[in-house]
Symmetry: C2
C-alpha cells in the first residue's frame, strides 16, 4: 500500500475510482438478489410468510452497507477464474447473498438491548427499535436459517458437493467456534472489574482471538467460499483462507479506529462506545499510530499471499487496501 493513497481516504475522492465503481455495482446486484429472496412467494415446504416478519427481515437487510462480504465472495471466485457476471454467475450471486444474510442477522442480534443495546445502525433505527425486541430476535433467526435454505436450494448453486461445502463452511464460521463464540468472548470481557475496581483488560492475544472469531471468521469464509464456488484445489482454498484472515484482522482494526476517531454522523452509528464500555480493542495497547502501522503490515501480507495469482488478484488487493483505509 503506498503512502499517498493511505493519507487520502477514498471517501474524499472527487470522482469514484474503478474499484469503487466495481464495489458499488456488486452492491447493487446483491441488493436486488437479497430483495428477490426476501420477497419471494411462499415456496414448497413453506406454509405462509408473516408480513411483519418479512418487513423486519427487509429492514435488517436491505439498503444497507457496502456489502463487503458478498463482494469478497464474488471477487474471490473471479480471481480464481469463475464467471461471476450474468446468468452464469447467478449461483455465485445467490451464495454471496446468503452469506450477507448471516452478517445481517448477526447485526440484528448484536444490537439487541441484552447485547450492545444500539438504537442506530447505518444511520437508521435498529430492527428492535423499528419493530420490537421479539420480532428482531425472530427476524435474526429467520435470516440465519434462510441463508442455509438458499445455499442448499436445489439447482441454485453449483453441484451438491459445492453447496454442501458452503453450508459446512458457513456453519463452522458463524457458529460457536467462530462468530457467535467471538460475541460471547466479547460480552464476557466487557465490564469486568478486578477486586480493587480497576477494569480487567484482556491481553492483546485474547483480543486478537476474540476478533478473529467475532468478525474474522465470516470474512475469512467469504474468501474461502469464492474458492469453493470456483471449484479450485485445496491449495487455492487455503490461500484464500490466509488472505481472508489477514483482511479480517485489518477490518476489525480499522473498525476500532473508526470508533475512536469518527463522529457518529459519519459512521452512521454510535461511536466512542468501545471506550465508554471498556470494550476490548487493541487501541489501548497499540495506539492510533501503532494500529496504522499494523494495518500497513496486514495489507502488505494480504497482497503477498495472492502473489501467485498475479493480475487476477488485482481487485482483491484493492479490496485489502480499501479495508485498511476505510473511515466509515
Amino acid at each position: 500500500m503506498n503512502a499517498p493513497e493511505f493519507a487520502q481516504p477514498m471517501t474524499a475522492d472527487p470522482t469514484p475510482s474503478a474499484f469503487q465503481a466495481r464495489l458499488a455495482a456488486a452492491a447493487a446486484r446483491i441488493e436486488t438478489e437479497l430483495q428477490r429472496r426476501i420477497d419471494a412467494e411462499v415456496r414448497p415446504g413453506e406454509t405462509a410468510r408473516p408480513e411483519r416478519l418479512v418487513a423486519a427481515m427487509r429492514h435488517a437487510t436491505l439498503d444497507g452497507g457496502k456489502r463487503l462480504r458478498p463482494f469478497l465472495v464474488i471477487e474471490s471466485a473471479a480471481a480464481l477464474g469463475a464467471v461471476t457476471e450474468g446468468a452464469a454467475g447467478a449461483g455465485i450471486l445467490s451464495a454471496a447473498a446468503a452469506i450477507e444474510l448471516v452478517h445481517c442477522y448477526s447485526l440484528v442480534h448484536d444490537d439487541l438491548p441484552a447485547m450492545d443495546d444500539d438504537d442506530l445502525r447505518r444511520g437508521r433505527p435498529t430492527t428492535h427499535r423499528a419493530f420490537d425486541e421479539a420480532t428482531a430476535i425472530l427476524a435474526g433467526d429467520a435470516l440465519l436459517t434462510y441463508a442455509f435454505d438458499i445455499l442448499a436450494d436445489t439447482g441454485a448453486i453449483g453441484d451438491a458437493a459445492t453447496r454442501l461445502a458452503l453450508v459446512a463452511g458457513l456453519a463452522r464460521a458463524a457458529g460457536l467456534g467462530g462468530m457467535v463464540g467471538g460475541q460471547v468472548f466479547d460480552l464476557t470481557a466487557e465490564g469486568r472489574y478486578a477486586a480493587d475496581g480497576r477494569p480487567l483488560h484482556l491481553s492483546a492475544a485474547e483480543i486478537r482471538r476474540l476478533q478473529a472469531m467475532k468478525t474474522g471468521a465470516l470474512l475469512t469464509f467469504c474468501c474461502e467460499a469464492g474458492a469453493i464456488l470456483a471449484g479450485t484445489s485445496r491449495a487455492e482454498r487455503d490461500m484464500m483462507r490466509r488472505f481472508g484472515r489477514l483482511i479480517g484482522e485489518a477490518f476489525q482494526m480499522a473498525d476500532d479506529l473508526i470508533d475512536v476517531e469518527s463522529l457518529p454522523e459519519a459512521a452512521g452509528k454510535a461511536t466512542g462506545k468501545d471506550a465508554a464500555r471498556g470494550k476490548a480493542t487493541l487501541w489501548a495497547s497499540l495506539g492510533t499510530a501503532g494500529m496504522r502501522a499494523e494495518l500497513d503490515r496486514l495489507t502488505a501480507a494480504a497482497e503477498a499471499t495472492l502473489a501467485p495469482l498475479g493480475a487476477s488478484a488485482a481487485t482483491l488487493v484493492e479490496t485489502a487496501r480499501f479495508i485498511a483505509r476505510r473511515r466509515f
Copy 2:
C-alpha cells in the same frame, strides 16, 4: 386408538410398555450423541469454544424431554427399512440429534423475556434465567447454526445428496415460512384487542395455520427426514410428510389440553398461561371434548396413512397414539 388406552394415560401405567422402553432407549442414545457434539474438541475451522457458551448450550439441550423429534426421525427411517442401531445407524443418530438442537434453540428463544417470558422449562430454570439474556440469545443462535454444521459434516451422514436434502428441508421447516414464521403469527395474535376492548380472536383456520407452522413444520420434517435418511422414493417421502402433519396437529392439540388441564408440577412448566395471555388455541372453539374427538380423528388418519407399510409402521403408529394421549 382404542378407548381404554385413551382413558388410561401412559404415565399411570404400573410397568412401562415396550413402546415406552423403546422411547427411553432412543432418548438415552440421543442424550449421549448431543453431549458428544456439544462437548467436542475445537475442530478445523473453529478457533475456540467459549466455556460459558458451551455451558449454556448444555443447559438448553441436555437432560431434557422425551426427545420425541429425534425419535420420530429414527423410527421413520426404521419403518422404511433403514438400519438405525449400532455403527450403521450412527449417521441417522447424528441427523436426529441435529434436528433436536433446532428444537432446543427454539425453546431457548421462545422463553426469552421479549417472547413468552418463561422462568421454567422441564422443571428447571430457562436458559436466560440460569445464565443471562445475551448468553441465551447467543446459545440459541449457536445451537441452530450447529445443527447445520452437523448435517453438513463430511462423512457423518449418508452421501452429499442426502446431507443436502436434510439441510434444505430443515431450513425450510425451521425458517420464515415454518417454525419462526409460526412464532411471529403467535406473537402478533397474542394480546390484540378490538376498539371496544374485546380480545381479538383468530379464526380456527388461522389458529391451525399458526400451529402447523410453529410446531407442525418441524415435526413433519422429522418424519420426512427419516425417509430422506432411508433413501426411499419421493412417494414414501410424501407419505411420511402426511403422517408428520397429522401427528404434528395432534401434538399441538394435546399440548393445548395440557395447558388447560394440568398442574404446573406435572407439566414441568407454567400452565394455564395460554388463557391468561389470550393466546390462540382451538380450545375456545372446540372445548375439551371436541379436542379429544379431534385427537381421535387425527390419530386414526395418521395410522391409515402408514397402512401401506404394514407391521413396519407399528412403532410410528404407537407414537401417534402416545402423542394424542400424553398428559405431560
